[in-house]
Amino acid sequence: MGFKLTEEFKAKAEKICTQYPRRDAALIPLLLELQKETSYIAEEGMDYSRVKAVTTFYTMFNREPAGKYHLQVCRNISCHMAGAPGLLERLRKKLAIAEGETTKDGLFTLSCVECLGACGLAPVIQVNDKYFENLTAEKVDALLENLRHEL
């Protein structure tokens, strides 16, 4: 996948491994760190079934390259009642993509996710690692504009 582990990454990985009596327990935290660098975990060249099992079991691992901003719309019960379906439709239209797709400019990926644990401030979307809560039509439009201009 054209990504070379830097010395910095290796040092960080080593530090994570020391947290556990068995080094293989660090697999998931290490994959999360790796994904921060690469935006996804490539399956090509993966010859270890345990790693493949983990990357397909946990939803936070992207199996395809993701856009610069990964918009993850919560669609569970509290967000649903607060307008998540309308929010998703708005994003679909604005970005002209469906769930699971990435815009041609590589800027945005749109996904649906389950409960993010922020139900008191529904509806919620997560952009990469960050939560945006209590969203309205106006706020989500502004959010897209802000992200576009952060280029």
């Binding site: 019960i77 309308g86 389950e114």
Partner: protein, 423 residues
């Protein structure tokens, strides 16, 4: 009464210590581990993650003669739909959790602890790491804590998105670097848990209550609340109420008081139709049942539901119960780990039938099939995920059958339309 858990301005270590923080740890280290467990038993503190198992009793299950390592794990994999209390607690009062873990670690003889936090809580994990570093620098965790000879190392471990990892044995699998598939019990984690060693797993809210119990005594804590439901509980309220959020109240508070006093009532124009009182996996209550219920373990069990995680999901008249159940079925089908047939197949069939009913393509027979599939899933799997969908299905169908029948007769309802986001 004064809050025990949710306090303002104690997130930093200096402020926490200034309010008497980490004194309970010092006190605990001066007691015998068995005495600490006894105090927690006396408090009647019960698991706040959903199951409500007595915490002190859980600790006492660690075999006294076990050699080698023991572990303490905090379950911060907050994922039960409707639940957002642990996140707030970790942001506002992270040191209560860390101190509670150091005390619990001492009580069970664990030298190592992990806080398993859901992967999406990246900011919260970072904040916890900072709090851990601060606690380490003051020797509240680490080697020879406060010159007591007790060593306890503690770190965070992020999950990567899987509801099932909130189940304690799936969490252990995940913490060991595997897919999160629940283990058969027995052996229970207290005997054979993390890395095959005796392990205690407690929820964030449970552990964060421990310092206050040690400071003021088990009897004091047991006197709060409603009989066997002792202490305060974090209730997280979502849905169309004026002030959704997390409220700390004594167990046994009425739903009416929570809704009207704490949450400022329903939003203008919204009328209460139903309440899911303890997170998405607990049976739904009708408005009439909810108005009459007290929020504690026994009262909610008597009403046919559960306290669960304390996630109170408020549903108003504009919502379609068939649609909401479809949302839950999709979720549980997606989150089923797939190792037990009744769950893997049952969740899928329930979702399919509900899709059909929602689209107006179902039949009256489908409603009975829904119920019987749910009944067939119940109590037949390794972990409670199948029950977590079966119980809502059975209660939704029983209590709101007329809505299911209307859908089966091909009538659409306003609540099935796409719900728009506020302008």
């Amino acid at each position: 009464m004064e809050n025990i858990l949710l306090k303002d301005n104690v997130a930093g270590i200096e402020a926490y210590v200034a309010c008497g923080g980490y004194k309970p740890l010092k006190k605990a280290l001066g007691l015998k581990p068995a005495e600490v467990i006894e105090e927690v038993k006396k408090s009647n503190l019960r698991g706040r993650g959903g199951a409500g198992f007595p915490a002190g009793l859980k600790w006492s299950f660690i075999p006294k003669d076990s050699r080698g390592s023991r572990y303490l794990v905090c379950n911060a994999d907050e994922g039960e739909p409707g639940t957002f209390k642990d996140r707030e607690l970790m942001l506002k009062n992270p040191h209560a959790l860390i101190e509670g873990m150091a005390i619990a670690g001492y009580a069970i003889g664990a030298g190592r602890g992990y806080i398993y936090i859901r992967g999406e809580f990246a900011a919260e994990a970072q904040l916890l790491e900072k709090a851990l570093a601060a606690a380490r620098s003051k020797n509240f965790i680490g080697k020879n804590i406060l010159n007591s000879g007790f060593d306890f190392e503690l770190s965070t471990h992020r999950g990567a998105g899987a509801y099932i990892c909130g189940e304690e044995t799936a969490l252990l699998q995940s913490l060991e670097g595997y897919t999160g598939r629940p283990r058969l019990k027995p052996p229970f984690p207290a005997v054979k848990g993390l890395f095959g060693c005796p392990t205690v797993i407690n929820n964030v809210e449970t552990l964060a209550a421990v310092p206050a119990i040690i400071e003021k005594g088990g009897d004091w804590y047991a006197s709060i609340g409603n009989g066997k439901s002792a202490g305060t509980k974090l209730f997280c309220v979502s849905g169309p109420v004026n002030k959704p959020g997390v409220y700390e109240l004594p167990l046994g508070v009425t739903f009416r008081e929570l809704l009207e006093k704490s949450c400022g009532g329903m939003k203008p124009g919204k009328k209460l139709k139903a309440v899911i009182p303890g997170g998405s996996s607990t049976p739904v209550l009708t408005a009439e049942e909810a108005w009459a219920v007290k929020l504690d373990y026994e009262s909610l069990a008597a009403s046919g539901s559960m306290l669960g995680s304390g996630a109170v999901i408020v549903i108003d008249e504009s919502q379609c119960m068939v649609k909401l159940l479809e949302v839950l079925a999709r979720f549980y089908h997606h989150e089923s780990c797939g190792q037990c047939t009744p769950c893997r197949e049952g969740c899928g069939w329930i979702e399919k039938i509900l899709n059909r009913l929602e689209e107006g393509k179902g039949s009256a027979e489908d409603i009975d099939t829904l119920y019987s599939v749910a009944d067939a899933m119940k109590d037949r799997t390794i972990c409670p995920l199948a029950d977590a969908l079966a119980l809502p299905v059975m209660s939704f169908v029983k209590k709101f059958r007329s809505e299911f029948s209307a859908h089966a007769a091909g009538k659409t309802c306003a609540g099935s339309q796409r719900i728009e986001v506020r302008e």
